[in-house]
């Protein structure tokens, strides 16, 4: 199954897991699967229309899915989906 890397700010919603395996044929299905398993994640990933929030970057392996086919980008079992939020901590 594809793996999803969970950033620190979302780990409270995934029982502390930093890497979650979620089935799905495309990026949208994988993220939906994650949101179904951990409902609190959904609100932070998607806006009311079901699109990715602009402040959340999603990568398939090392490439931004916005430069691929977005949520429709197909995903293989060996792929890793990275959820990447901006962080500002420096001190």
């Amino acid at each position: 199954m594809p793996k999803v890397k969970i950033p620190p700010v979302l780990r409270a919603q995934t029982n502390g897991e930093s890497l979650v395996e979620v089935g799905g044929a495309d990026v949208g299905a994988v993220l939906k699967g994650l949101a179904d398993a951990h409902p609190d994640v959904s609100r932070q990933l998607f806006d009311e229309g079901g699109d990715l929030n602009r402040y959340v970057n999603v990568y398939l392996n090392d490439e931004d899915v916005r430069l691929l086919d977005g949520l429709d980008t197909s995903v293989n079992d060996s792929d890793t989906v990275v959820i990447l939020p901006a962080m500002a901590g420096g001190s």
């Binding site: 950033p7 402040y55 490439e63 939020p85 901006a86 500002a88 901590g89 420096g90």
Partner: protein, 398 residues
């Protein structure tokens, strides 16, 4: 019984006079003409420090004390033309005699040395060099071919501004100072607190309560007197950002809030200043290098900030002390590469570090064709508007 050998008692001046009488001498103008025509090896026989101070361009350096052992490296063919010079023409005459004894067939000493050469208005090069103390201090840099003397001089000439003298800024500042970055600017409006010391290694227990810029300056000055520290005890804001960053070659962003990060990005793109940007939270770090118009900018990567609940600070969420150490040193490494030109900086690459698994992940970051700051359709900023910025607090709260 043979009588004891009687030693000749010639003075040094006699020996020099004899040498001068027995070797060919050329005038500086003649030597210059030979050098122009080529097919001559000009040898500077003075000491290292004299050569470093100034010498004739194109000369090879073989100190007189090393002449016998080294001249063959430079002039293996003893039939070739060799012209020697020193400061005034004495040492080079003695050296010419030595070469004659070694079987060199076409040797001359330049009359009057480099002193007369300069009096005749002929050009010399005055290469920049390091003091003896600096040579010793930076010897392990100089030994590395990718850095060498040239790279070390670039570091000494460089001016780097650090935003934040905290978790990230502490290791970055210490390593850049140790490396001999000539000018380090520090921006921070905070004072040292006991809770900082678990990770902010540039400060110490004695300096609790002291402004962080001052505390950091003391640590840097104790580490390396070559570094000039400029304290900017305050916050970066839209009034001071342009003046502040225009004085520096590279900006290191270790700020702890989004408004500052967006403000710095927008200003650095306007002034085309590279920014090394890192951030940390609990066990996770991110770092990238933004070189305006060569690669993406911070806004290409993060067009809008996350809502506050998704952007906790280290103060609220905690951070492993060693994490800013690792990320701060990666920042110092990026600065080193930008300044010296060695290696490949993280331009267009975002490096993630997860400390518990000790995992690095690299993501590609592209320039956003719709970027409102560095994209092809970004509005031009007129010179008189260079210091005008939107309200970042409102933007980041939105």
């Amino acid at each position: 019984m043979t009588p004891p050998e009687t030693k000749t008692r010639a003075s040094g001046a006699d020996l020099i006079a004899q040498a001068k009488a027995s070797v060919d001498e050329v005038q500086p103008t003649e030597a210059a003409a030979e050098l122009d025509a080529g097919d001559v090896t000009l040898v500077d026989v003075r000491e290292q420090h004299e050569f470093e101070e100034r010498h004739i361009e194109g000369a090879v350096h073989v100190p007189r004390g090393h002449l016998e052992s080294r001249i063959e490296q430079f002039v293996p063919d003893r039939s070739k033309r060799v012209v020697l010079y020193c400061a005034s023409g004495n040492r080079s005459a003695l050296a010419a005699k030595t070469l004659d004894e070694l079987g060199y067939e076409d040797v001359a000493s330049m009359a009057g040395g480099i002193t007369l050469w300069r009096d005749r208005g002929l050009p010399v090069v005055t290469p920049r060099s390091l003091t003896q103390e600096q040579k010793e201090r930076y010897s392990r840099h100089i030994l590395v071919p990718e850095i060498g003397l040239e790279g070390q001089l670039k570091l000494l000439d460089s001016k780097v501004l650090l935003l934040g003298a905290g978790g990230l800024g502490s290791p970055t500042a210490l390593y850049l100072a140790a490396a001999g970055v000539g000018t380090l600017g520090l921006v921070d409006d905070d004072v040292v607190d006991a809770s900082n010391l678990q990770r902010q290694v540039i400060h110490n227990t004695e300096r609790i309560g002291m402004p962080k810029t001052e505390s950091a300056r003391k640590a840097i000055e104790a580490l390396n007197p070559d570094v000039k520290v400029l304290e900017h005890n305050g916050r970066l804001n839209s009034e001071n950002v342009i003046d502040l960053i225009s004085e520096y070659d590279v900006i290191v962003d270790g700020a702890d809030n989004f408004p500052t990060r967006y403000l710095l990005n927008d200003a650095s793109v306007r002034l085309k200043k590279p920014v090394v940007s890192a951030s940390i939270l609990s066990f996770d770090g991110q770092i990238s290098t933004f070189v305006p118009f060569e690669g993406p900018c911070y806004r290409c990567l993060y067009p809008t900030p996350p809502p506050p609940e998704l952007a906790p600070s280290c103060g609220a969420a905690g951070v492993l002390g060693v994490l800013p150490g690792i990320m701060g040193m990666l920042q110092a490494l990026e600065v080193f590469k930008l300044v010296t030109g060695a290696g490949t900086p993280l331009v267009g690459r975002l490096l993630l570090f997860e400390a518990l698994g000790t995992e690095f992940t690299e993501l590609k970051v592209r320039r956003d064709p719709d970027c409102p700051i560095c994209g092809p359709n970004a509005p031009e900023v007129a010179d008189e508007d260079l210091g005008k910025f939107p309200d970042y607090d409102a933007f980041c709260a939105g």
